[in-house]
Symmetry: D4
Subunit: 254 residues, 8 copies
């Protein structure tokens, strides 16, 4: 149940088509749904305007598939991140038309095709190995109905590759920039364009990259302005923030 | 020289009041100004829409005051962060009407009163000791012409203080939330409201707070969505990002 | 041999039914039992009032099953933590009525059903993935005859789920609160209720959670009072302390 | 206003001596008191049963003295921790009969002599240099009306000093054990006695003690049971938890 | 070729039974033996008086077996540490009478039974899980002809187990004390006895033990004197130092 | 397309055999080649004078083989590092005459035999386990046409092995020195010879070696001069820098 | 009261010159002396054979001088380490003939000139800045009656300085080797000589030396054998262990 | 005594103007000069071709001035780094014509004006606050007779400032690039030009810059090739390596 559905319900009450008590019951039942091992939080997606999301890592395939089914039964868009092929197989048995995105390690089930935003988020990544994180961000944007432009493999070792993409990046409302190793790409992007940058350190690298710590520190210490940071490999979190900004701007335009 | 001034210049050209060559010369001369020990980057403020900023720490009072004077002479708003009383004394000898904000450890010089935005940024902080970081953010917003609401000392140890402020926070376009110690406040704010949250870890605490690392990690690992993070004590950086979002939304509304 | 059994033995001596020398011999033999690779410490459970516990990790299935058998033969309640399915299989061949708790990764053998306490420990956890740690705590309480209330999946991203449970938490003598990622839940619980809180950081998370360090630091730096901390994933340790407090209070009531 | 005062107020209402509206007003006004730079949280001391506490570090002497005065005016016991001599001088100008504890770096103002508990908390420390942390704990206990026994300088390098104190430690309801360097004392105390142990790592040491990290890690990894941990140098926090337990047991006895 | 063999050779020269040139050739050829991928360093065992040792981890089974064979052919005692079952299988094909110690993960080949020292090294460990490290130390002592006493599973959680062993520990020339988790045992041993203690942190533990860092730090910060430390899990290194001391003392007695 | 090929093309233009427009087109097309998941950066090898290099880790065998094929088709020397046997199998199906270096975990394809430099790089390593890193460096040098001398297993525990190699090291233009564990070898080499030293920490070791951090820190803190450092296990990076220096010197001689 | 004095007392008893009860009283009184803020542990020096030592850091000058006086009054040798000039001034007012060693930051008071050992400890250090740590070791040896040879400023950047000292080092029973920065000197010394090496990392260095961590890690990971490690800057601890070994060997010779 | 002076001496011998024995005596006397607290290592400057250097930090002004005087008396160029104004005052009393470089915190004494190299080292730095480190590098180059080009304040937040300097950087034989905060500048420089880059992390920054660790990690993980790294703030070390390369190339050209 999304914000629009909720407003419709309240309008029905206002217009006298629905008894307040009945509406109340539906609303009371809605916030979260206690499954014993999980309390599905429908409030959050209401508040935040993003799909019901299951962070699959650390949950059994059984748990993931049950939660997903419950969400789908309410007619909500469902997004599962950090989902292995095995877990998706379990989901598939309950939600036959769920879709798996292999690179993103994510699955989705959408009750209807979203209407995509006119404004877009640029998803930028430094190297081929950063693509899984970038794709998690891209799939998340898709479930939220926000358009994306993918600009991949433009790391700073060959800065001309990046310079060629300057316009596409500047055209975006927000740029989600993923990089591992030395993590310099978001700073350079923020130094080149006027877009807001949400930086995503990735765990790509070896030795003193310490599974993304080097990149994370570089991003936190950026001398460029208009740049904020999320957790290592957190493509989902960056996308949710980027979509929220994009929608605020797009809605304001209307 | 800000974006509006630049647009005025270009309009003059478009209207035939200024020869393109003369305009070009002004623009070419503008990008940065080489002072030997510093190359003032006027492009950045143009690109980013924020005032010329001097990070005073690690520069001598002499250097700071010279850079500030050069900026002020161009008619730009000037902001100096991490500025000690001693450094400000040096600035004062060159820019007599510069103003010092003691809690924020910042000074400003503004060529004219900004027109403040209708939308506002909520500046939230957990405890009295976090106020200096919050004030750095507030002063930065002021120099960018963005309104703020200060909501201070609402840490989670007494969560009812926070609950009372729920509406003021939800009314903001973006919330900049500063907290040291366990750094949980931004997550709780993001869990309570629908605002975007920019989390600022502060170095407030002792022992295993490790000068803000504990708070930083807590914020990066937040289970709440719509939350991004900046460096420890970086009130300035959070404010610049928050103002950029606020202005994008406000401009879209026009 | 637990404290009551010991008291019985001493009473027998006091009443002249047992020669002091014989009693002495039993007591002297009791403290620990040397199995070559392990010295079973019966004193500790006497002193501490908790079951004989085997930390299975790092021991071979053979070693675990031999230690467990020796303990069971003395008529002691046995608890094995961090026990894999394989190790339990070895235990099962020697103690046929041992029970395995899959989520808790623990096994128990109890010579008789404990009489459960009137007061209870609240076992709270932030997310579905924290359940294994919470269950280790719950199973430990059970072996010590302390009642528990499970309050799961009430993380702060949807704080209303937690607010609904406020009364059940406040009714507890002690709350054991397990959380990974940003580890804020124990602080919020301690800020909401008057219960003592024993905080258990879990290794749930990714990236900058550093396998529970982020949560651990957050808990150590809590601005809430009445909160103490145990090692990452140490549900057992938290439960032992919680039960000791609960029993002290319950015994004092008698 | 403490719990007893609150109960008295409610009794007046119950007995018809006070109009509910008037009582309500007093209670509504009570929760917290907004001083601009600080929102004094009276709820917390109510909920937690400990004195109003000011963590002085990071606040100006002016701020500390104003907050303390406001608290004292309400007739609450006041405790200030991490208070320098300079800050206390400022407090003294507003609260003439406040008392400073030099070793504890704490001040108190108590409206009346507390009635001390029969049960006691053992405050144990490893070396002379750990005394400031131990004294912070002892002073905190005093403000909460809980008796203490000081057992100082009994580090494990000369374990016979500790063995001589075994009985005094075992007689305590809770032992607060402070140690720096290798931080082994709490584990040894927990291994020797049946008391609950709250371990306080101190920043005493040099080199690889890393300002208390070595001691903190040792305590978190203790193989002894019934031991929980607080932040480095957090004598206050340990004492609040210890007093809460002691009072629960003592109240249950009544 | 060990020191005694070398002395025999030199005696032959002194007695005229061996031409100096021939002796020189043997000695010159001896220092190291270049196998391309390894330069076997015979000098080191000469200088240090310990067996030729192969650190097997990171070498292929083929490499280990070739190096071992070359050493054995010279009539040297051979010790292989951190040796998997697979690697030993390869060694076995070339040195048929090599012996594998499963708990120690070590193999040996000794040209003749050593004459054991009268003095002994006490090998002490805290828990059953520390035994592999303790056994690496014990096997190393054996190859150097130094007697050992094994005192296992005497961790501080039940300190009476340790107190019973006080005399056996004090009788040793050196005590090698292995402990993981909080790593307090070596400090307690050094506090109880007059023996020199060589402390070996082990990687036993979980969570904040950080694979032995907690134990390592505890040992480095020991407040007990006469205690030195080696690397995490380095039973071999501790044993070599302990044997060197034992032999120095025993030789001085002669 | 390497620098020589580029010069040939430009010469053709200079001699009138190629229309500038056509040349321009070839050059414009050349910088990078967009394969969707990868933008091959031909500029870099041009600028840097090293072969096209694929860092295979984190890429699928399919991706690696496609990139390699594209490079080979342009007649460029190809080098793949951190390549597993499986990935090489995929490469082999597309480039039949590619060669795999098992110890170096690298593959190469060279369009023609390089002409080797007269000057050489000394590749020095401390132990047998460091050889894979040293071989990555050696194979890289080979693809760049720079001669190498391998000086392996000369760690400082037996310093005479190193002293014997003094001349071979001093004869080198640059020494690439690989060491794990305590990482002292590069400092000793720099202290003994006049060569420039590029130090490569390796992840060889255990316990407090922290996968190469100990060695890395030792090298960064070297008291010897003329020594610079690369990332842990980065034999490739050290070799590229060493070859660049060697070629600069050799070219200057001509 | 040292071991000899104790033996004398016991001999008097054995010979009938002292009543057992009187002797008992003296011995019972001896173990430790309770001064309120400190329990002087006379047992430890008895057990360990080293002087009464006061670690002055973190104690007030008043406390240090009182403890020192009490020790001196018993006729014990007194050693104070980490003693500032100010603290020594306080000591001097109570013990007029105490001596201060400025480089070592230590003071001593010796009731009589010790008889020095024939065997010696080599005190080796890498650079001039390491001398304070080396001198703490040297002064400690002096108070224990053990001879030392100082070999200073022989760091590995100029290894020939070290090679010249080879014989003096090899003649020592134990070498205490102090080094900061990369901390390689102890490994090189252990690789060159047959002496036991006790390695002392010092906090000398900058940047990535992390106040001695780099040196500490290098020493723990040494590939040389017969080397153990103490805490950063712990010259005292190294000396106590070195003297204990030296005395064991020397006593065995008698 | 530098290499040229040494060659002159040997030539005198070859020509019969100096008796070999006399020459030998001079050479033997030369390697190092024992001053008790320091052994001046003349071999090192001979081997390495750089001036006698005194790392002043951690030495007393007295020690520094004595060492400097001894060096100057031999006619060697003297360089003192990390030298405070106070220490220089002491040096000045002994070497009247020594020169102090305030920004570089270094002093020099040069017996004669060096002949400067034709090739140059580019000294690049990111911000005004990095200048002290850059100047340490520049002064070091000067003492070695190597020309430099200073390119300051060209950080990546305004990348156009850097692009303007592309040619000056590419013209250098080596670029020494200093940067704090996110430390991305060396990677961008290496990505733009064909010069070798020696990266110097600086301790400039705050919060998660951890005194240069963030910059250090970024540089070690650079995806650009031809880049090596030195310790944090080690301008001296970078310069020595850069000069060595420059001289090798320049000498080869002759």
């Amino acid at each position: 149940m999304n914000q629009e559905q909720m407003k419709a319900l309240l309008d029905q009450v206002a217009e006298g088509h629905l008894a307040p008590n009945v509406a109340l019951e539906q609303l009371r039942g809605m916030p979260f749904d206690d499954m014993g091992f999980a309390k599905i939080d429908f409030h959050r997606s209401l508040r935040k305007g993003h799909p019901e999301t299951i962070f699959c890592q650390g949950k059994t395939p059984e748990q993931v598939s049950l939660i997903a089914e419950r969400m789908a039964n309410r007619g909500e868009t469902v997004l599962g991140t950090r989902c292995t092929q095995d877990t998706f197989t379990a989901v598939k048995t309950r939600i036959h038309d769920a879709i798996y995105y292999e690179e993103a390690k994510a699955f989705t089930w959408m009750c209807r095709e979203p209407e995509f935003s006119k404004r877009y988020v640029a998803i930028v990544c430094a190297g081929t190995s950063d693509i899984p994180v970038a794709e998690e961000a891209a799939v998340t944007c898709m479930t939220m109905g926000v358009s994306v432009e993918r600009i991949y493999d433009v790391g700073i070792a060959g800065i001309h590759r990046l310079l060629e993409q300057r316009e596409r990046i500047s055209g975006a409302t927000v740029a989600v920039v993923c990089a591992g190793m030395e993590g310099a790409l978001p700073s350079v992007v923020a130094g080149l364009s006027s877009s807001l940058v949400i930086a995503v350190p990735t765990s790509v690298g070896y030795g003193a990259s310490f599974s993304g710590i080097a990149a994370l520190l570089a991003m936190l210490n950026s001398c460029a302005t208009g740049l904020t940071v999320v957790n290592i490999d957190n493509g989902f979190g960056a996308a949710v923030a980027a979509c929220a900004i994009t929608k605020m701007v797009e809605n304001a335009t209307k």
